[in-house]
Amino acid sequence: MKQNFRFSGTGGQGLITAGIILAEAALLDGLLAVQSQSYGPEARGGSSKAEVIISDRPIRFGRVTHPDTLLVMSQEAADKFSGDCDASSLIITDSLFVKDVRAEDARRVDLPITHTAREVCGKPLFANIVALGAVVALTKCVTTESLERAVLDRVPKGTEDANKKALAAGYEIAKKAV
């Protein structure tokens, strides 16, 4: 079992944190994980990406050359980071920001991620956690228990309830979409 994830969007959307949380959830499940990310000015302005590989066997090469799951949360990121997807890839888009992706034949699920974060948690800030919920609901790459624990270990004190709500909302919109 080996799954490649790429989370991409705009700097500030919390996608690198989302990548770290997903990798930590995998470790909690007893799996192995490697996480890497784009750095520098690119990671702040403009588009940013985090990559996670989850496997039950040792992971050597740590970059994703062909995402099994691509999360795109901005049109620019979709333009830049969807080119190496194909029919076997799942592309999850934030429908608020993304219209086109560069892999026509990929399986595509459009979700109102940021919209839901605003509706359910009151802030678009929680979009990354909503997205994580959706990704896990659609891929079953980690257990929801581990995901919740990994989220709660990472987020600031006092925001636990809002984050739990965001996760639940993520599961919900994913289930509704399929």
Binding site: A23, E24, L32, A33, V34, Q35, S36, Y39, R60, F61
Partner: protein, 385 residues
Amino acid sequence: MSRVLLLQGNQAVVEGAIAAGVRFYGGYPITPSTEIAEGMAKRLPQVGGKFMQTEDELAGIGTVVGASLGGVKAMTATSGPGFSLKQETIGMACSAEIPCVIVDVQRVGPATGQPTSPSQGDVMQTRWGTHGDHWLIVVSPSSVPECFDLTRRAVELSEKYRYPVILLMDEIVGHMRERIELPDSYEGLSVPRRKQPDTPPEKYLAYADTDGSMVPAMADFGSGYRWHMTGLVHDETGFPKGTPAATKNSQDRLHLKLRDHEDDIVQVENYRTDDADVVVIAYGGAARTAYDAVDMARDEGIRAGLLRPVTIWPFADRQIQAVAKKAKCLLVHELNCGQYVREVGRAVRGLVPVDLYAKYDNEPATPEQLLEKIRESAEKIKGAK
């Protein structure tokens, strides 16, 4: 008891240093090594150690040498531009035989280059960066757990041989996050300190080889053993001496004390090399690509293997020659235009062809790309038959 964590390579270096007993860090922030400074700033005072953000790279390594004179295990970290600046003082640490660890998390160079992109362009600089004739110890990790282990080993070797040791990393390993299992307590993980004098202070000679190991005992400043450190050529008393004999003796020591302990210092990892026709040689972050490429080559029937130098310097002549005797071709893969490959060529002395896959476009090679090169090398051997 232990805990499983997802850590960056740079963070694992911090933990390895703390575990090894490093209690002083002086350095200047520079991408992609800054997380090491940040981690040390947080962790060192927690264990009673001290961290200093110095005014520049020169002061970073300078404070490290000073702290080491005081008997404290000391470390600094930097990247290419800062590594260049530190060279003169690294040379003094060689000459005066001062234990310390210098981490170089490589980025694309020369000059400012690309601060956040991987490269292995400093591999020869670690060997020949400072002026003058000397040997040096360099070790290079390929994974996050190995960052922890090799940082400890770097401290251990520096204390054992009374010499600077360089931990050569690259952006790939420094920044990636990976699973690591760390013990809850670092008790028992601290590495032995430098040899202490067993003579009374009035008989102590700071550079005398008293036990034939070529490693003199080093007393701490302030311990009652008063001695003199100098960057000038010196004799066993530690005081400057410019005679041809004193000069030769001092140069000999800076070579022989490592050369004669190569068995203890030099480590490589052999991965599927036993029956391999094509042996890839790769180190640091580039080796991660190589494991996968070797497995893929095996899947298509090519007998491939990987020799990964863990100790970069002294060079693993013997280990590479041993592999070259059995293999039909060596393929060096490194993230530069071809540096280490020259040493490999020198070591195998025409025994087998040495191919090179040099990747220097700021991205690591993918396993598929390296596989293609393995296929080409394998094809060439067939043609040669």
